[in-house]
């Protein structure tokens, strides 16, 4: 039963909530706005909100300066590749843990989670060494493998919590009707598992897209994704606020949109099912 709320109270709450929301969103809004200014307008005092000549020139300049498209492509390949590979490895594992649990299932799940907590910097040198050894340094394939491994625990966990919610009775009914393991997976489980798998893919794509330890340390000019592309702006030359804004806008826009779709799954995925 919803509580009756006075209009007055609702007006006050609305004002407060919008004020806080806009304040938190302001840096992103300001970045997007600045990307359409000229460099001189970008640093104008007082700051310009609407009264400036909108221009797209920064976007072309960013592309010319450092071939944005190649970094974008690297990001797509690395985030997408690591997520898909992770799903391929994790689906069977999560399936068996959810439907054929044994006494050790819980221990295995928790152990997998514990590998996620390994601080990356603690194994930076060994991984770089292995990368040199196997010629993986600054390759997209190498990063796909590493990002797949660091996100694999989250992928397994998310899939596990989704699969857990599929009623087992339905599987038993299918078995009674003579369905083998193959039919079970193909015709019974898959259709019910698709939404969970889709959310898992979405969240892990975002996490891989934004990963900024391994992508900064294991890539250079060749396989660098957008995180590295943006980091190249940390040593500025001349006026660059508008160009930085254009580059930033292009780096975050796609993922912001995906992220807004995934907000519900975010809670479940990042708390390992502890908060739903």
């Amino acid at each position: 039963m919803a509580r009756a709320v006075t209009t007055r109270r609702k007006v006050i709450t609305t004002a407060a909530a919008w004020a806080v929301g806009l304040l938190i969103f302001f840096p992103i809004y300001w970045t997007i706005l600045t990307s359409f200014k000229t460099e001189a307008q970008a640093i104008n005092d007082p700051p310009l909100f609407f009264n400036f000549d909108w221009t797209l020139e920064n976007y072309t300049l960013v592309q010319q300066r450092s071939d944005y498209m190649r970094f974008l492509w690297n990001s797509v390949i690395i985030a997408g590749g690591s997520t898909l590979l992770g799903i391929i490895v994790a689906v069977p594992a999560a399936w068996s843990m959810a439907f054929v649990p044994s006494k050790r299932t819980k221990d295995i799940l928790l152990w997998m989670l514990s590998t996620k907590m390994l601080p990356a910097v603690g194994v930076l040198y060994p991984i770089s060494l292995l990368f040199v050894q196997f010629n993986l340094l600054d390759t997209r394939f190498g990063l796909i493998i590493v990002l797949m491994l660091i996100n694999l625990p989250i992928i397994v966990w998310m899939l596990y919590t989704y699969f857990k919610e599929i009623p087992v009775d339905i599987l038993e009914a299918a078995r009674m009707d003579g369905a083998g393991l193959k039919e079970e997976i193909l015709y019974v489980l898959t259709p019910m598992a698709v939404p969970g798998i889709a959310s898992t893919i979405l969240l892990n794509f975002i996490l891989a897209w934004n990963e900024a330890f391994w992508t900064l340390n294991l890539t250079a000019a060749n396989a660098g994704p957008l995180t590295a592309f943006i980091a190249s702006y940390s040593s500025p030359e001349g006026l660059f606020f508008a160009k930085l804004s254009a580059a930033s806008t292009m780096a975050i826009a796609p993922i912001l949109i995906l992220g807004w779709f995934s907000q519900k799954q975010l809670v479940r995925g990042l708390t390992f099912g502890a908060v739903k």
């Binding site: 969103f25 840096p27 514990s114 601080p119 603690g122 060494l129 393991l181 330890f213 780096a251």
Partner: protein
């Protein structure tokens, strides 16, 4: 109704994930442990081919003994603690606010969540330049507008600035989880308390806060694990200068900048132990949740 057949099939399906993660954990960890007991300075001619000199616990002692160690522990604690405090306090406030009925709930929710999806290098550079630049940043404009002298944020208030940037990134996460938890609160309980004349402060203290305690613990633990290893935010802003060299960053510098692999590896082992102490508590909560 698992048969023997399906059991072994299940084990087979689990194998790739388990083997991959086992390798991912054991191989680099063993190497780090190995290097931490060795003198290993590639720039001075040490190499794996010629064999490394065993130095026992010397690296461990030197890592702790160096003048950079305790300041880095302090920086880590201040940054992690500051971000936790800000995100949890404001997260509770925001969660309660967003849980009230108001117009445009969906849109405001999206606005609040947005910073979480901004990649760390972007948020750090946007804050560093467009907000905290002492000449052209928005904050400098604002300070001048009120007749104050602009602050060189990242050199004069470096730790606070890092805390601000990282809090901005993590506030959405805390808010979202706490909001989810608040929404599962039985509203009848609150109504009963309201009818019995409990003022808002008491309702918050005795009903809402206890209900949130579990979610708060989870937020604190998960954020701690991620915050202990923040890297990009420091890498592109101060580069570890002005007292912002955290433990993670110190280890990074030992390994990458000074190329002292032995010393860096010993630091890495400390970081791993530290992360595991936090992890144990988190795993307990997650584990107890599995049984339900």
């Amino acid at each position: 109704m698992a048969t023997k057949h399906s059991r072994s099939a299940a084990r087979l399906m689990m194998a790739p994930a388990v083997i991959l993660l086992l390798g991912w954990m054991l191989v680099p960890l063993t190497m780090t442990l190995y290097f931490s007991f060795k003198r290993y300075l590639p720039l001075r001619g040490d190499s794996l081919e010629n064999g490394l000199q065993w130095v026992g616990l010397e690296n461990y002692a030197r890592f702790i003994g160096s003048s950079a160690f305790w300041p880095s522990v302090q920086a880590t604690l201040v940054i992690v603690g500051g971000v936790l405090l800000i995100t949890v306090v404001f997260g509770i406030f925001l969660a309660i606010l967003l849980d009230q009925p108001f117009w445009g709930q969906g849109i405001v929710r999206l606005l609040v969540i947005a910073p979480f999806f901004v990649m760390p290098t972007v948020s750090a550079l946007v804050w560093k330049n467009m907000f905290m630049d002492p000449v052209n940043g928005i904050l400098a404009h604002l300070w001048r507008f009120f007749g104050a002298e602009p602050v060189s944020w990242l050199s004069d208030a470096s730790v606070q600035s890092i805390i601000l940037i990282v809090s901005w990134q993590w506030l959405p996460f805390a808010t979202l989880i706490l909001l989810t938890a608040i929404q599962s609160l039985d509203s009848e309980q609150l109504e009963a308390a309201e009818m019995d004349g409990a003022p808002p402060v008491k309702r918050f203290w005795f009903i809402i806060l206890p209900h949130l305690s579990r979610a708060i613990t989870i937020v604190v633990l998960i954020q701690t694990i991620f915050l202990l290893s923040i890297f990009a935010e420091i890498f592109v802003t101060t580069g570890g200068a002005f007292g912002t060299r955290t433990l993670t960053y110190l280890i990074f510098q030992r390994v990458v900048d000074s190329q002292n692999i032995g010393l860096g590896s010993a630091g890495g082992v400390y970081a791993i132990i530290l992360a595991n102490i936090v992890a144990i508590f988190l795993m307990r909560i997650v584990g107890s949740n599995l049984d339900r």
